[in-house]
Symmetry: C2
Subunit: 436 residues, 2 copies
């Protein structure tokens, strides 16, 4: 850990900074340093920061402002340093999507290729739990590690997925909670600086960003996703982190499961050399980018899936954090099967509809203090392009509380299309574009 630099001593006034951005101006470095530091200290009030956040959302920030804002958030806390490790480091961040369990097979896979993966995660408010919630479905596994444990596990196992400490970018933590309740989440400068401040402070040598686009993603349009990706790649590159982004499809959910334990099970299938082809494809695409970023593009990650070394890394990673990788996973108490209403080809499965159903079944949380149900979620038995038969299972809904089925079923209404057999179906590419 290195100490955070002292904030600039030049003084400003909250209203002056707000008015500058409100009136379409750019903020000076000194204004940005001051307002982020003063907000972290409590000298700028929540109601002032939220008004500034709305002005930023509506009037934007240029690249210099975003970079400075990111630096100021990094300076609010500690920075980690992995340079003492014997191997290079690479991290991955996804902007989040339905059925996105990619981190689970990816981290041990990349570790098996000789690159250390320090995956520090938050919990968030998604349709399902975050990566930590999914892993907590494994009996005994714990998310909290000390910095010493983290470093030791990175050296020995090569992969860590754990809770980010409170020391990284505390300004972001406070600002994120504020944005959540003030309608100011959707500002690209604030999203980009929030993600990148934590990743840069974390100290990874290289970073791959999976920026999702589509109905089940935060970014619904390709243009906005590209803008976010380009902004984050510029921030990472400017901070000396080798950074690349992939824009990937999130109109259709990933794999065949959205939940917690059921996504762990699907990830283990991938590590065993099987699993849904889209999950395998995206895991390998991201692994190749991480290896290239870490200077190890001589290694083919597909071989490490095939030869079992990724699975070995997974088991070592789970065991190192107290989990039993061979234990049975929790199962939901109640299940409900939805059958296909007609025969034909499944031509559309909407990520948002599936995500909302999983959330309503208890797989995600509405408030950050809520628990998630480990066994809850949605399994779909066909993916777009597959043939389906009237009366055969299309979805299995899982929950501990049967009272949740009705609202979950309602969210699947209109969430898929079945067209007559023989209808042409051309799948959209999973990896849409590469930025970096």
């Amino acid at each position: 850990m290195t100490a955070s630099p002292e904030p600039t001593s030049e003084r400003h006034d909250a209203v002056e900074v707000i008015v500058a951005k409100r009136d379409g101006g750019t903020l000076t470095d000194s204004q940005i340093d001051w307002v982020v530091d003063a907000y972290t200290r409590g000298a700028v009030a929540d109601e002032q920061m939220s008004s500034l956040a709305m002005a930023i959302l509506l009037n934007g920030m240029d690249r210099r402002e975003i970079a400075r804002w990111t630096d100021a958030m990094i300076a609010s806390g500690e920075r980690m340093d992995f340079s003492s490790l014997s191997r290079p480091t690479a991290d991955k961040h996804s902007t989040g999507g339905v059925g996105d369990k990619i981190t689970l097979p990816l981290a041990p896979l990349v570790a098996a290729c000789g690159v250390a993966v320090p995956q520090l995660s938050g919990r968030g408010l998604g349709h399902t739990g975050g990566t930590l919630d999914k892993l907590e479905a494994i009996p005994g596994w714990r998310a909290a590690l000390s910095n010493e444990e983290l470093m030791a596990q990175l050296e020995s196992v090569g992969a860590v997925i754990c809770a980010a400490g409170d020391g990284l970018a505390p300004a972001d933590k406070k600002l994120y909670a504020l944005r959540d309740v003030t309608g100011t989440v959707e500002a690209i400068p604030l999203i980009a600086s929030s993600i990148m401040s934590k990743k840069i402070a974390e100290g990874t040598g290289s970073l791959v960003l999976d920026v999702k686009v589509g109905t089940g993603a935060f970014m619904k349009s390709l243009d906005r996703a590209r803008e976010l990706a380009e902004t984050m790649v510029a921030l990472g590159t400017g901070a000396g982190v080798h950074t690349v982004a992939l824009l990937t499809d999130m109109s259709t959910p990933l794999g065949l499961t959205a939940g917690n334990a059921i996504e762990v099970a699907e990830s283990v299938e991938v590590l065993a050399g099987g699993g849904p082809s889209d999950v395998v494809e995206l895991t390998l695409a991201l692994a190749r980018e991480m290896l290239a970023g870490a200077g190890r593009d001589d290694i083919d990650p597909a071989e490490k899936l095939a030869d079992g070394s990724a699975m070995d890394a997974w088991k070592a990673m789970i065991r190192a954090q107290g989990g039993d990788p061979d234990a049975a996973l929790p199962v939901a108490r109640e299940s409900h099967v939805v059958v296909a209403p007609s025969s034909g080809v499944l031509t559309r499965l909407d990520a948002m509809a599936v995500g909302l159903a999983a959330w309503r079944l208890g797989a995600g949380r509405a408030r950050k203090e809520d628990p998630v149900q480990a066994g809850a979620g949605v399994v779909w038995h066909a993916r777009p392009g597959d043939e389906v038969t009237a009366g055969a299972p299309l979805f299995t809904l899982l929950t501990d509380d049967a009272g949740r089925f009705d609202r979950a079923l309602a969210s699947l209404d209109g969430g898929f299309d079945i067209e007559p057999a023989g209808t042409a179906y051309s799948p959209a590419p999973l990896v849409i574009e590469r930025v970096g």
Copy 2:
């Protein structure tokens, strides 16, 4: 007093309302009713309302939204009712300017014409104190009246200038304090609804708005002043209050004084039939509008100034509130004379420069809990168009604290122009436009 109507029971969510306005939509009546009521109750937090206020400032509101917002603020408190009085009522509101003491001669003048003037004022954060601060320079005078005292004085004297109670539009009081610290004061929908909610709740039968334009005014451009005036006239008219606005010049300060006691003295000169011609002109113009609004345009207010009946009403008004209209006014302990640097014609005297000087001398307040100095202020000895002589007094600065002179003098730098004798000077009209 009538009870406020119950707010709508339909429920909304703060983020939903913020996002609707943020994304350029119009708010529904139900959303507006809910958010204003919930904010007043504390169910919508300050940081949510400030984010909404910034979205309103940047994305605007249409006339329906502004009218509904105003109604919701009125519904947050009590409404007064003057229909039991034996005479019609007329009120005036000024958006504020430097040397604007017009309320002081105007209220007793209109009362002398047979129309009751219920002037309920706040204190504000202007260059000089508000109307209440000016009157408090008169020994014994008190601003606080009970509702019974207010009604009795309106019936007997016909004019009351007093502090508005906390019962009128409490939502506005809370919102105004929030806007002040969050850079969201300058939103025309919020300015218009703030002013008009209080005036409509007050229950006046007719209303004249003096909307100031120029360097010393809140509205620097004629276009924005006109938009504000039209918005307020529409709100008043829609609520059944006969409402007219005059757009008047505030590039040059009004009269020859900016302060508290010195503005009272100048007002008394006007009531005695003298005083600066611009103060007399604007007082009469506003009086004629108030009389017309109250259906008494058969009366010429100039006669009531000339025959002493306005002065009689003034003295009765001051005495009714405990003041001695014949007592000596407070005098500042220190004075400093600024002489004209050259001979010629004064062609410009900047209202902002004079206002800032008066404020720095102690005539106004920086924070709402600060006191004002009764004797402090600026007297100018020439008005634009007047000839001045090098070495003769141009300004007299007044304060209780000689340490304030330096900064006050600095604010007058560049605040006036003297051009060679014989330079043509054509004064701008004082009343620029009438809306209504």
